[in-house]
Amino acid sequence: MRIEKLEIGAYGCFVDRSIPNLPEGLVIVHGLNETGKSTLFSLLTTLLYGFDPVSDFPYRPWHVNRYPELSAVLTLQDGTQTEVWRKLVSSPQGHFTRNGHTEKLANRHLPFVQHVSRDLYRALYAITQANMRSLEKMQMKEIDDRLLSGLGAELLKPTRQVIADLEKQAQKLWRSDKRGKPLYADLQSKLHEAKKDRKQVVERDQALRNKAERLHEVEKRISTLEEELAKLSAQLRKADLLLPLKERMDQIEKWHSDIPDIEATQHLPDGLETEYRRLCDRAENAEEAIQRLKEERKTQVDVQGRFIEGDRFILERAEKIDSWAHRVTAHEQEQHNIEKLERDVDELQRSLESTAASILAEPWRDDFSLTVEGIVLPELKTRTNNFQEKEKAVEQRQTAIESVTPVRMIGELPGWAAVGAITVGLLAVLLGIWFSHAAITPGSTLTLIGITALVFNFFIRHQRSLLEAQRQDEIKRLQKQKQEADGARNEAREEVKEILKDLPIASALLENPDLFLYQAVEGLRLYVGERKQKTDHLQEQQENWKAAQHELQKLVGEFGEQKASLEAVNRLEDRLDTAKDHQRDFNQAANHIKDMNGKLEEAKKALRDATGARDEFMRHVTQVVVEDLPPDEALKRAAELQGILRKIQNAEEQLEMDHPDLPELQEEIRRLEKDNVDDWVLDQAEVENFRIRRDELQDKDGQLQRLRDKRTRLQNEIKNARGDVSVGELDGKIESIEEQIEDVCTQHDHLMLLASLLREADRQFREEHQPDVLKRVSEYLNTITNGRYIHIITLEDEYEEKRLSVISKSGEDRPIAFPLSGGTLDQIYLAFRLAVIDHLDEAYEYLPLVLDEVLINWDDQRFETGVQILSHIAQKRQVFLFTCHDWIVKRIQDAAGISAIILDVS
């Protein structure tokens, strides 16, 4: 790789600086101190690898406020060119061209330099006086590892690193020096704890077993004492319980013997005398009740006797009487109605006669009724109306005739006036003509007026005569009509007469039948009808009343009443009510008697029962006392026996209450009496001893209680001490930890073995496959030192640290350190570096090399040799040699065969 040209936009001290036409080979960069040589090296590194660090980049333009920017044209090994551009804005930017395409770089290194890291490049490709000898260990290790891990393209991980990792892992597991906290130590600690716990658990279990044994002993002892206590209690029970019980039972037995018939006595009621009295009273009461009932029954019979035959008689007619009681008032009212009807009929008769008198020519007769009834009133009305119409028509004609008015016209003007007017007028005119024209006009006018008046009068007369003629014609016509109307009227009159022919109607009325006539006939008709109706009704009413009256009379006559009247009916009613009362009383008395008979039977039965119970009671008492005693004495004796029986019952009850297990106790006593077992008969002193001993055992501070407390305590201790963890579990835990320890140790040994193996392999490999670089170094060294030192090797010291050593011509190996001279050291390191970078770039791009005052300490001969070396190197790669010394520049330029360009950066 060769940098053809550089374009520096802004970088450190450089601003808009162009460095074109950089040659391949050696480029001498000459400049005084602080003129930008370091900046230039940084620029080269940045060009190849990108900005680092990005933040606080130290080579931001110092004098201008611009972003660092640079670009370059590179020619690669294969002759292709690439243009590279980088700029540091808020983030780094960059691109490069490849095969005509632009590819983004951002801040990445160029792909052509990936075989050498930035750090390595800085460390190796920038050789200065200062860093000549002080390769940082990291780079040294890196170089060493990379160089010695394999050849060709096969790259393995650095063996040293792998070994270090293995040893580190191993140390985490186990350490012989007991330093740190390896897992083994932790497991040992856990194991120790687990064993301690196990011991405690074993002790705990043993303690529990011991406690359990003690508990067993205590329980045995308690059992023994409790047995003794039970036995004592049994004995004392006999003494305290059974004996008194026996005494009580004996007493009860004696009482039993005092009662002859205990069953009978049990059945005796309490309060014998009271009971006896009660029974006697009961019998007496029953008798009294019977007596009462009988008397009451007699009373009711008497009541029944009051209901007599007469009451029955009237009751049989009760319905009629009740009926007349309701009707009698209406009956009397009916009589009044009949009288009124009679009056109405009379009134109608009078009206009829009056109306008949207004139109008839004769007094009314009843036989006229038929005729009147036969008249068809609507026909009569029609005919009458017809006559009236005809009459009216005649009158109208007449009226019309009369109403033909004489002709009346406007009267004629007085003829004389007209003649006069004409005359005057003519005169006036003449006058006017003769004397004054003024009179002409009035005269003319007057003349005209007069003429007009004459004409008018003529007209009026003519008209009058015409009208008069017309009037006469009209009169004739109307007269004719009147005649016709007269004829019609006469016919209508005859029709009216025809209807009324059977009635002697007054002729004047017939001649001129009018509404009056019709209304009168109508009235007659009405009165006749009404009279007939009322007369019929009156007859009917009279007949009904007579019949009812007859009936009533008959009824009251049965009861001795003379007159059928309201009073008679009221009296009958009263008698009827009385009869009803009697009847009701009779019926009630019958019910009472029936009821009483029932009660009487009951009372008799009660009496029988009472006397029976009393007798039975006394028989019972007699049975109890056995002896034949008078009632009072027998009762007394029975009461005594009852008392005894109560005592027995009380005693037995008490016994049962006091001893719920009485049957068992009784059985026990019987058995003891029979067998005389276990000292049934007890001595009091013995009993007392038993009691003392029992109290001792029962004493809450006594031995038994203490043992019980101890038992409880032991039980609680056992319960509390049991714990969750068993020895087996802990053994499992211990086994598990031991297994882990075993694993850890095995794993440690495995790792260490592997590390040891790798180390040995690594060492052997180094020996067998000494890297090309060391050979190159040796070659370079041999050349640089003119054969004084021929070889450079790496050896490991006792700490397994790598160190470089040189082998002199004489075969002596000397570590590359003091007391080798500074110049020699420089040469060695230079050789080393040159060899390394040759080796690293082998098969890749040869990266530019920067040397800064590296020849400064060399003697002439070595200087010459060094220059030759540089020129040799420059054949393969571009070398930038920085110096501030003119003489170095000159000497290099004077060296044959070297073309160099001086880059003045002052």
């Binding site: 010695l148 891990s149 394999g150 050849l151 060709g152 096969e154 790259l155 393995l156 991980k157 063996t159 792998v162 293995l166 597991l173 186990w174 350490r175 012989s176 083994y184 658990v201 074993v202 705990r204 279990d205 529990l208 077993r209 359990a212 067993h216 056992i718 049991r722 714990g723 969750d724 068993s726 020895v727 087996g728 579990e729 053994d731 499992g732 835990k733 211990i734 086994e735 598990s736 882990q740 850890v744 140790c745 095995t746 440690h748 040994d749 495995h750 260490m752 073995l753 592997l754 590390a755 040891s756 193996l757 790798l758 180390r759 040995e760 392999a761 690594d762 052997q764 490999f765 067998e768």
Partner: protein, 413 residues
């Protein structure tokens, strides 16, 4: 006459140490052991057996806790209340000599101990008091009974079913090599007396010892570690003079150990894929729907791109928890065994690399003692190992793949 009904249990190992780095797991196993024993007692009562046979190792002598003693005696009392006699022959873990726990416990009256190495014959009677069989048994008197006790058993009686009981190691029985060689015997020794049934104990794998011999190991009631896999329980046996009905296995272990070994799936490139594959494998290998809780050790071998990740303890724990949650397994332990990234070791043999040199030296290590001594690390954790060389050579197994896995970066395969 009705057949003799027996419940045969052995190797209960109450309070034995259980496997597990997790205290809760050990506690669970301990409780499971008790539950299993309780289940056996309940089964015996339910089936109204004529005898409850315990063929040794009922508990671990030194480890029997006070609480477990109480529990054990309470269960015996239950059998007593059900009028079931218990015949208990002691084993190497619960020997019968006077100073051992078996003799010291306050057994209820229905428990008959066989603590002597001399076989004793007792009648078996039913509830009515009628004898319906015989039992001959002997017990271990110490923890290291080396004699063949089976040869001391006399000929069986022929009037009634005659059962024998012994805690013994029948040589050639499956799993016998897993146990100490105490009271050893052979099949011939068991066949000779002609018993109708041999109730054996000591080997924890349930099995009929030989096809032509009515001798069974009941196996233990609850697996103690991942080597004791599968369901455990008791044997219900009906014995008559007409013959023996195939004993019925009564599963009693609440917890079941399983061990699955699997080459890590190569196609699993992510944790999620690996989880899915492993979970699927577990479901395939283990019947998780049998109503039991499963404790699984999962050994992963082979190569996987996830090897580095899996080998980290925290990642392993995450993987275990995830698979546990997905499969509903009660407890899961994943053990990577030589699980490494895929590396083409072959290609490095003879290569001019440190790895090539390492492989060469590994070859040498297996035969060159001097070399081995030279590279033996100065400080070994197992410094007291008798045969260091053997030990180191054991450690060097598979070290070639491991070295390659360490040296070759991940992208280089």
């Amino acid at each position: 006459m009705e057949a003799l009904r027996l419940l045969h249990v052995a190797d209960v190992h109450l309070d034995t140490p259980f496997y597990g780095r997790d205290e809760s797991l050990r506690r669970k196993l301990r409780n499971a052991c008790r539950e299993a024993f309780k289940g056996a007692v309940d089964a015996a009562i339910e089936r109204d057996v004529h005898a409850f046979l315990i063929a040794g190792d009922l508990f671990d002598n030194e480890l029997l806790s006070f609480t477990t003693e109480r529990f054990l005696l309470a269960e015996m009392c239950k059998l007593q209340n059900a009028r079931i006699p218990v015949f208990y022959a002691t084993g190497n873990h619960d020997p019968g000599r006077a100073n051992y726990r078996a003799q010291k416990l306050e057994w209820p009256s229905n428990v008959h101990l066989f603590t002597s190495t001399t076989p004793e014959t007792v009648p078996i009677v039913d509830h009515k008091g009628q004898q319906i069989g015989w039992l001959t048994a002997a017990g271990h008197s110490s923890t290291r009974e080396g004699d063949n006790l089976a040869t001391r058993y006399k000929k069986a009686k022929d009037d009634l079913p005659h059962v024998a009981m012994l805690h013994t190691q029948v040589v050639n029985a499956r799993g016998a090599d897993q146990h100490e060689r105490y009271a050893p015997c052979t099949g011939e020794d068991l066949k000779l007396p002609g018993y109708d049934y041999w109730a054996l104990g000591h080997v924890h794998l349930r099995q009929r010892v030989f096809e032509d011999l009515p001798a069974w190991y009941a196996g233990n009631l609850q697996g103690r570690n991942p080597k004791e896999t599968g369901l455990k329980g008791a044997l219900y046996v009906e014995v008559s003079k007409r013959g023996l009905i195939e004993p019925e296995f009564i599963p009693l272990s609440p917890l079941v150990w399983d061990h699955v070994e699997l080459a890590c799936p190569e196609n699993a490139c992510t944790n999620a894929e690996l989880t899915t594959e492993l979970a699927a494998c577990l479901r395939q290998e283990i019947d998780l729907d049998d109503g039991r809780e499963h404790l699984v050790r999962f050994t992963l071998t082979g190569e996987s791109s996830l090897a580095d990740e899996i080998n980290k303890p925290e990642s392993l724990q995450d993987l275990e928890e995830t698979i546990q949650n997905e499969t509903d397994i009660t407890w899961l332990e994943i053990r990577p065994r030589s699980l490494l990234r895929p590396v083409d070791v072959e290609s490095f043999i003879g290569s001019p690399t440190v790895l090539g040199k390492t492989l060469e030296l590994l070859e040498r290590l297996s035969t060159d003692d001097e070399f081995l001594d030279r590279i033996t690390p100065k400080d070994l954790a197992h410094s007291n190992t008798e045969d260091v060389r053997h030990y180191l050579r054991e450690l060097a197994n598979n070290m070639d793949r491991e070295a390659a896995s360490l040296l070759v970066p991940e992208q280089k395969r």
